[in-house]
Amino acid sequence: MIEHQPETTSGIPLKLLYGPDDVPADIREALGAPPGRAPYLRGAYPRMYRDRPWRIFQLSGYGNPEDMNERLKFLLFEAGETGIIIKHDRMTDDHLYDVDHPEIVERREDVGLTGTVTVGLRDYETILSDLPLDSIYAKPGGGVPQSAVYTLPSYWSVAARRGIPLEKLAGTGQSDFFLTYLGCPTKEQIPPEAAIRFNLDLIEWCSERMPRWVPVSIAGYNAADSGLSAHQELGAVMANAVQYLDMIAARGKVDVERLAHRIGGMNFRVSMEVFEDAAKLRAARKMWSDLLGQRYGITDEKARQMRIHVVTAGSAMTYQEPFNNIVRGTLMALFSVLGGTQSLGVSGYDEAMSIPSDHAHLMSIRIQQILQNEINLREVADPLGGSYYVESLTGELEERGWEFFRQIQDRGGFLAVLDDGFLLECAEENNQRIAVGMESGERAIVGVNTHTIDDPIMEVEAFEGRSGAETWEMAMERLADLRRTRHGRGAVEALRNLEEVCRNDSVNAIPAFMEAVSADASIGEIGSVLRETFGDWQVPISV
């Protein structure tokens, strides 16, 4: 009888026992460099968590701006979060629709369910009231590029109105292509070519004015949770970064070496395949350092340092027996730290049914605080380093990651594989394999397809925020108020100027977005300008 060959989720065969021969030569060499030194296999900083614990960085947001403000104040001042993320309503924010858009009106009860809903800059003032913008680290939102150019300028404008100079602000944007063009393609979205122009504008803007801001953040998480496997996530992330760097070099306004460090704040997923994913974080740092050295000739080690944010896999969280997810979250969080992450978000245990309730949100923070305080996890850097097994996985992922990177380059590069559906096909194929494995029971999920019980005793109510269409009704009132009380001609002129700037890619568009939000242009009006200027992306989705 042939013994069943076990393998990781991404298909790396697993041996019963690993030894010295399983560690590739270049990994052995990289192990010689301590944390904080290239190629950063062993960690981004010399003293790792002894100097700075990882940032507890949870996604949060729902309802109207007052709800969001209240939640943020609770998280910062009471629960002990060390950075804020503002999660926006995906329907209105990612689409840049006003709440009276026909696509929204027929789904009005959904408004505010996936994040807070804003109609314009005034709502940002509410969201951020009483928050010390000059001292907090923030991710104001803007997961997709077209929303980032509304969201980031709004956040920055609120700070400017309070007299805080832009250079004092610390935080990160996102503008992620994997979310936008792979994981969750929205109903209407500007094409990747237009999006990349805005990302480059953000990068240049921040490198000139905002030394403490990461302008865009490549989110391997979204690639992985859409279905790309671990090495595909690595290869695709590198291809995405190369796309930015090559285009920045071609524009010639900012030095690539100066810029590389900004692009090096990236986001990865850690799933229940914990050893593989901890190895993935270690491989990612080495790949990034090698890429910048070899492809761009960057010798400055500091410029080649990757800093990582991890989000634990939302897709690992089950709808059935949700409290089991606290255990899953803890395991994924632990291995994220063992892989050397700089910040961490743990998916709520109610992830499969709703955005996190207060209780689930606090639980995610508590998981991290327990890891930071109770198990001596901060004292030793790279505890997995030198494990034959982990180093073998690290080497294997790096090799396969570069292979996938070359495949993408051979097909015409990162933008080409979004447009031609190649990445979607890869993801779909993996998802299909996972679904078949779940169906046959080969992939066991406790409480779902194994050890199930008929009479559920672990039930949880999904968090739904305000009842019915209340959030939408309140937003409709604020939108009417905005239109009635703003300086009408100022908004019209700012929007006209924005359109001109959008049509002329030789100028940086960010100032025009700052002016438009400051003139109380609504989110939907800004969206209309983008839709009219750039049109809609045709999703190459085969489903």
């Binding site: 329907m91 393609p185 109903k187 279905g227 059935q320 999904a462």
Partner: protein, 141 residues
């Protein structure tokens, strides 16, 4: 009808669409493929408003509608109302996705099957066969 049992019906037509604007396609793709492999003709609607759910179901003359839910149950209920208003009250509907557990009875009370994340594909396919009268052995592919 012959003495050998019912003559095989043509493949059932299923509209698969999302009621919410969240864009997550992963579950939809897996379910659509399972239905196709089980012999259904799958029409992919993408993200449809409740009124579009009814108009597309009518235009495509479907036997079944499968709705992926990433939002609130009220929007699904509006789609059911729109279908009834368009004279499609007899077209069965089933839903999957992140339906809040406390809202499930509101759908099952209207005869709508609910398949939350983690549901088995064979259970979904069996329900689709039952709802479209393709559950006798003669209709299996």
């Amino acid at each position: 009808m012959s003495e050998f049992g019912p003559s095989p019906l043509p493949p059932a037509r299923v509209l698969v669409a999302k009621s919410s604007l969240d864009g997550h396609w992963r579950g939809v793709a897996v379910v659509a493929r399972a239905l196709r492999e089980a012999g259904f003709e799958v029409i992919l609607g993408g993200m449809l408003r409740p009124s579009e759910m009814a108009s597309v179901a009518a235009a495509e003359d479907v036997d079944l509608v499968g709705i992926n839910v990433g939002g609130r149950v009220e929007v699904v209920e509006r789609a059911l109302d729109e279908m009834e208003a368009a004279g499609l009250g007899d077209v069965p509907v089933f839903v999957g996705g992140t339906v809040p557990p406390q809202a499930v009875p509101r759908l099952t009370d209207r005869g709508v099957g609910v398949f939350p994340p983690g549901s088995s594909l064979s259970a979904i396919v069996d329900e689709a066969r039952r709802l479209t009268g393709r559950d006798s052995p003669a209709h299996r592919v």
